[in-house]
Assembly symmetry: C2
Homo-oligomer: 404 residues x 2
Amino acid sequence: MEKLQNGYLFPEISMRREAHEKKYPDAKVISLGIGDTTQPIPSIVTSAMAEYSLALSTPEGYQGYGPEQGQKSLRKAIADVVYPNMGIRDTEVFISDGAQCDIARLQMMFGRDVTIAVQDPTFPGYVDNGVIMGQTGPAAVDEESGGSRYAGIEYMRCAPENAFFPDLSRVRRTDVIFFCSPNNPTGHAASRDQLRQLVDFARRNGSIVVFDSAYASYVSGDDKPRSIYEVPGAREVAIEISSFSKFAGFTGVRLGWAVVPDELLYADGTRVARDFDRVVTTCFNGASSVAQAGGLACLATEEGRAAVARVVAGYKENARVLVDTFQALGKEVYGGDDSPYVWVRLFPGRRSWDVFAEILEKTHVITVPGSGFGPGGEGFVRVSAFNSRDRVVEACARLTSFLA
Amino acid sequence: MEKLQNGYLFPEISMRREAHEKKYPDAKVISLGIGDTTQPIPSIVTSAMAEYSLALSTPEGYQGYGPEQGQKSLRKAIADVVYPNMGIRDTEVFISDGAQCDIARLQMMFGRDVTIAVQDPTFPGYVDNGVIMGQTGPAAVDEESGGSRYAGIEYMRCAPENAFFPDLSRVRRTDVIFFCSPNNPTGHAASRDQLRQLVDFARRNGSIVVFDSAYASYVSGDDKPRSIYEVPGAREVAIEISSFSKFAGFTGVRLGWAVVPDELLYADGTRVARDFDRVVTTCFNGASSVAQAGGLACLATEEGRAAVARVVAGYKENARVLVDTFQALGKEVYGGDDSPYVWVRLFPGRRSWDVFAEILEKTHVITVPGSGFGPGGEGFVRVSAFNSRDRVVEACARLTSFLA
């Protein structure tokens, strides 16, 4: 625990926001920071949760513990709707209270003695959970970027220079590779060919890929896979984790899932799914049954699927507005097409925490400093499309005044 | 992971039940097995959850991520209602998705290098999470009882011979002591004097007590503390974990909490709460906001508190029926007064899995074999009061026919 650097990124930003609001009590702060959904959940979904809740007060409708792995109906809906024609069975889908919690459980399963690789930059949860489990050495400040790196972790640089995909011929073999696509924070969705390279690399090395597809519903077009299981051979090397958070506005409701295919084996031939099942039944008691009722309503009907897709489409339009704004300002900007995140270098050469602080000071807009996602994120800030259209437009106007 | 013996206890029992139902498709199986609530949740609670859910479809009512540590209002309600006059501050209460999940997070925080002590018998989650974290050596079969013990764990025998409280003068010092009171499975609630001994023992040894009070609402009378914080000095040595599961029928809804007092320090003087906060914010994203709305409704009004207390009182009457039945049969029986669990030795000298199997075969009643809770549980079965009165009465009639 002592090795963990500073606070966890998002609580740190919350504290900075609070301090700012104290300093400027009349400022109307707009958060394009933490990736938290803001728009109402379609009523077809919340009605299902309300109905389920009320039924818990009736003898017929009361249900206690469900299966730790989740309701059969929801597991089946995910297998059928999210993974059509990918050969995913309902028994391979484990319902969870969110992808972040699954990362913790997976890291608990992997234990202290594994080596891990992560994209750089990427969501900090993979590394931080690894540090808590004791997989790493101490952190050291990276001279070039000013960000910190933990000894023992393989950082796979994903930058504009390599089109946000690592040169795998230069990546050291590790036991586990965490790979997030569309990537948080860069917004880059790996192409089919890139994921094929990743799967081949993992097969050659006997590595397990943990593929985080939490933003899959934001992908545009068919050339970029929404799941790693679109790639042949992935069932033998990959776990996929995903979430209703950014797909259905469930950040507070808490619902996600992990897929652990039966063909995924340890070197000794035993099934990884067997261990994960044991972790889920021992360290977890299943996601809230009310949340699961809501998740099923998102997937079970055409109406539900269309309703949640409309909310995602709205956030994607916000992302378009942000990208257009930064492009009009002549800034170096990425992401937004396949993700709710826009990745922008506002002041080349300056540290991202300084840029974050100056934007907040001058425009009362919250972003996230890129170095919070790893040393490779230094120099960038992440701007989130999760807000109402009005606020995004207002934030863009302020940013334009400040940056133009 | 390889060291874990067999399946986790409760899924194992589910499998045995399924096999039994296949063999006897017409039998009306009654489960007095897994401690799963069966009675409807008071409508004041489910209405609050339904209302909260529906509000998520409105711009005003939508809320995304809450604080990872839980809603302020719920933390405050727990501090005020559950811990009156015990000096617990709302900031010391961490809302969770259940006590089992908090055990996993605490074990993740403690890491591989701590030593632990547990009651024997007790809830298997403490040990199993410790095994997953790598705290133990391999399991060995205990010659005397036939149960298995893990090397490195200090088993504190809690048996009829010592009135279910360990002789602490013979207990080896460990870094952490898991202590469940009222104990699952024996139903024994430690007295004020016993908890004082435990706190003194931990203070002398510099140990942390993890006090599991999940069944506190079942305690009768004022001589047995419902919280370890009723004991002077406990704030400096104890974490308390608890749950809405057995208190409000939330086994499927998922809601619990942990209390980590500010005065609880590691040997180097740093606050344990700081580490736990980091684990909660890194490995968890908070309990479902809908469940939290329900939890608040259980505590915030006199009406809510009275409604959930009535459900608990109903289960306690069931426990009375069970105890009376076994006493009338001349069996050695414990528990039931301060807990929904009755602990009974039906056939002295016989193994508890055999007793479990015979009861199931002859009466179609599910119990839990005592050895599932540790080697000290061998010879007993746990009988749960979680069912409708009708079914408990019917089960007692069948058990009487079989045993008389």
